[in-house]
Amino acid sequence: MTATAQVALSGRIVEYGVKPCMIAVFFVLIALLWTFPLQPVIAYPFVFLFFGAIMGSAWFGGAIAGGIAVVLSTLVVTYFFIPPMFSMSVAKDSQSFLTAFFACAIAITIVSSARKRAENAIRVARDELEVKVEERTAELVQSNLEIQESERQLRMLTEAIPQQIWRANAAGRVEYCNQHLIEYLGRPMEQLTGDLFLGVIHPEDQPLYRRGWQTALESGGNFEVEARVRGADAVYRWFLVRSIPQRSRKAEIARWYGIHIDIEEQRRAQQSLAAAQEHLSRLSHTLSMAEMAASIAHELNQPLTAVVTHAYACREWLRAQPANLDKASATAEKIVRESTRASAVVSRVRALFRKDVQVRESTDINRLIHELVRLLRDEAIRRDVSVRLELAGNLPRLEIDPVQIQQVMLNLAINGMDAMMDSPGPRVLAIRSNQHGDNEVLVAVEDLGPGVAEEIADRVFDPFFSTKPQGTGMGLAICRSIVEAHDGRLWLERSARGGAVFQFTVRAQS
């Protein structure tokens, strides 16, 4: 046996042997001592006193002390107070009393010690609870600090990102803007009103922006749109506005997180690329026109040169002395042959420009105009022109070649935009459709440019007539021939607002 085991054992002997014994003896002695003085005052005082002693022993010393107190009390009561007095023997008529005493004593011990144990257990539990609460409180404090720290880091991050970042509530009310965004807008976010940033979006981009936002709100999907945003200097720059919703546990949208990415440079690069492409395509167009013209000229010039040269030779053969009629006649044959060749070239060129296959499709002119506007959108933005449509409803369907008629409208629209290129005022291109007479539809393209000067007004439809340095002079000539091939008319009028109105009619489907 080791020393520690010995100490443990002796500790246990004290705990379960010595201490209960001492407590039981102490209480029983007190009860015994108090019994004698009280005996003359009340009947059977020992019953209460010993029960009290047993209760006290069981309470303070536990079940063991209670048991010892029961035994001691029973012995003392038997010896001192059960007749015959001062003997351990019990009279016949007192046996039932003693038994009852003993049983009561046992019951008191059990109840008292059980109560004591329960109280102890409650106290232990309460202590444990207090420790636990303290621990949890400390944990909470710690995690609170951590959350604050991570929030601080997150905020620093959003401020450090060189982009404009914001957060809005579920309805789109902006709740937070990072410093970049506030600096760009030049006003505190409290002044932002309406859906998201609608107030600082370029008016032309607002419909698209609003539509995108509405769709995102309804579908709960991501919101992404390219729009011009007004800065503190009142200058608009292109931004990619992108936002994603954050959802609550119940899958409802709690807030929106958004970013504005500056795409002005990108946009400009795109525009200049597009401009370069357009320039290139125009150049290649005029180049091919020039090349074709040169090729046709050469084709024609060869036989003509031969004809002229033969004609000179023929004259020489006839002038000779004597005239060489054989040679002159042979030369005349060659003149005929070469002239025929020249004529064939002309026919071939005409065949090249004639379109033999005629396409006629039943077409809704307004739908065609809407398509045209889509085609023009980028060009209009690049040139800062707004396109206004005034389309009549209930127009009859047209039996036309939609590609050709769209080409006509495209040509007129581009001409109108060209006319407003140097215009300082508002640049508005109006496209109208109307019923014209009983059986015709009229389409008008009106610009706010300087208009067409009186002296050239009747020449603008002539082939090769152009006022533009890069123009081929073929645009309006081709337009007119297309419209006339549709049994229509294309003409120019002066607009009430000073610009030019090109309008054409097309016969409706019969």
Partner: protein, 211 residues
């Protein structure tokens, strides 16, 4: 007009043009030979043939402008009349600078063509005469002896007989003798004529003077 048996080579890829030009030249008594390409011309052309070249500036394969360049590089100075349907200014400037006689734009008038051909023939004749003269002077120089050539070089350089005698370690009489033989062989009537002849063939060359 064709006394010297001159011929016009016509180079044009369009046979109808070749035929018409031949017909016209023939009608005024000029011999013409049509060629469909620059390559065909180079095959048929005879160096000894007097005449000129009527050349289309634009040809498939070797172009007219390139042919002119090739002939010039080869030292051939056959007069060239250019013709084209549409000549641009840089091209005209280039070929005229390179010595073309004329640049005709198709279709051209008979008078323009005939005038240009006559100019070309005149130029060709002058060229040939010049070539013949140079040739004969060179032959005369070749017939001189070594000593005679030395004397001629010093004479044409303007030295007196006495100086020449000193230079060549000869007696003055011997120098005079050589000098008379040089004048005879060169068929020169005077010192001035001899100097002109030498200048014409650039004799003596830079190498000869040094030695």
């Amino acid at each position: 007009m064709t006394a010297e048996n001159e011929k016009v080579y016509i180079v044009d890829d369009d046979p109808a043009i070749c035929e018409a030009l031949s017909n016209l030249l023939e009608s005024v008594g000029i011999v013409a030979e049509p060629c469909a390409s620059a390559e065909a011309f180079r095959e048929r052309w005879d160096q000894a043939q007097a005449g000129c070249l009527l050349l289309d500036a634009r040809l498939p394969g070797i172009s007219g402008v390139e042919l002119q360049e090739q002939l010039r590089t080869a030292g051939v100075s056959l007069p060239i009349i250019f013709m084209t349907a549409h000549g641009d200014v840089p091209m005209v400037r280039k070929v005229m600078k390179a010595g073309a006689i004329e640049f005709l734009t198709k279709p051209f008038q008979k008078e323009e063509l005939i005038h240009a051909v006559e100019q070309a023939f005149i130029s060709d004749r002058a060229r040939r005469r010049e070539a013949e003269t140079v040739d004969s002077i060179q032959k005369r120089i070749d017939s001189l002896s070594e000593r005679e050539r030395e004397v001629m070089a010093l004479v044409t350089a303007g030295m007196l007989n006495k100086q020449i005698a000193g230079d060549l370690s000869l007696s003055e009489i011997t120098v005079k003798l050589h000098r008379r033989r040089v004048m005879e062989k060169m068929r020169a009537g005077s010192l001035a004529e001899l100097v002109r002849m030498c200048e014409r063939v650039s004799w003596p060359g830079a190498d000869a003077i040094r030695s």
